[in-house]
């Protein structure tokens, strides 16, 4: 059962199925972007570790 509440200007009401679907899609896209960011950061950390760089050296090399 949908329990989301949406606000349209100054009025609140339960979300319609279409609104719930749209909000879920927005949240999925945002989560995907964050997950991809975190995956890239992990890869980067692994490469830095493999190269044996210090944090300062990694920052100087990679920004």
């Amino acid at each position: 059962m949908n329990t989301l509440t949406v606000q349209i200007d100054n009025e609140q009401r339960p979300a319609t199925d279409d609104e719930v679907s749209n909000l879920e899609q927005m949240r999925q896209d945002a989560s995907k972007a964050v997950a991809e960011f975190e995956a890239r950061q992990k890869t980067r950390a692994a490469v830095i570790a493999k190269l044996g760089l210090t944090a300062d050296e990694a920052a100087a090399l990679l920004g």
Binding site: Q7, D9, N22, L23, R27, F37, R44, A59
Partner: protein
């Protein structure tokens, strides 16, 4: 509606007998309207003036005085930024839709949201009304503790970032061009912090769509938001 607000601007005909009420409206100076909707409905009907260049109006819900230039209503004494709408966020809502804030009057807009709280750490997401895809985002990120860098990106998604929220505060600050125009929309998110991390940045947002949009949806990436005010400003064209 305030005590001086009116819902019509009368026009009289020769020989018409005026009442005290007629004179009160006529002598009230600049007509006062509750909203731009009641303003627009007050002209052109039976017994009402035809809207024409030089007409003034005061709008209660935005506390602004406007004049009609023959094609559109313009703010009086406006600075570069004009407040278009102010929406108070209610209790524990999953999204807020701000309607009818974009129009032909302005090309570019600033959207601010502050004073609220979120039920959990979240990103604040945006979507233009009537456009559910073709959004692109690029936010360079710097870790303010380690100076490490990275980036967030959305490639043809359903949303763009507008800000962030926590149980302490909500912040959104974006600029956007062409939301109403039948052109692609481009803009920037001006302040971004990934709550719970040291990741901060600002970046690029766009919507590759020619569809005209008159409003937008603001939503937390998880949970709900409560309180605070969403303000929309228009950048003066001249």
């Amino acid at each position: 509606m305030g005590a001086n607000a009116t819902t019509f601007v009368p026009a009289y005909v020769a020989g018409e007998v005026l009442t005290a009420a007629d004179l009160s409206v006529t002598n009230s100076g600049i007509p006062v309207f509750a909203t731009t909707v009641t303003r627009d409905a007050a002209f052109g009907g039976t017994g009402e003036k035809t809207l024409a260049e030089g007409q003034f109006a005061y709008i209660e819900d935005t506390n602004t005085t406007q004049y009609y230039d023959g094609a559109a209503w313009q703010p009086v004494g406006a600075s570069g930024l004009t407040l278009i709408s102010s929406t108070t966020v209610g209790n524990a809502v999953s999204s807020v839709t701000v309607s009818n804030c974009f129009s032909a009057t302005y090309k570019a807009y600033k959207i601010l949201f502050d004073g609220g709280t979120a039920s959990a750490q979240c990103d604040l997401l945006g979507q233009l009304s009537g456009i559910t895809s073709n959004y692109y985002v690029g936010i360079p990120i710097v870790d303010v503790a380690t100076n490490g860098t990275g980036s967030y990106n959305v490639n043809n998604g359903s949303t763009f970032w507008v800000g962030f929220g926590s149980t302490n505060s909500t912040i959104a600050n974006i600029d956007i061009h062409n939301p109403f125009a039948t052109q692609y929309k481009y803009g920037s998110i001006n302040v971004y912090i990934k709550q719970g991390t040291n990741n901060a940045g600002n970046g690029y947002i766009s919507c590759v769509s020619n569809t005209s949009s008159t409003g937008f949806v603001l939503s937390p990436s998880t949970g709900t938001i409560t309180g605070g005010t969403i303000r929309v400003y228009g950048y003066a064209n001249s």
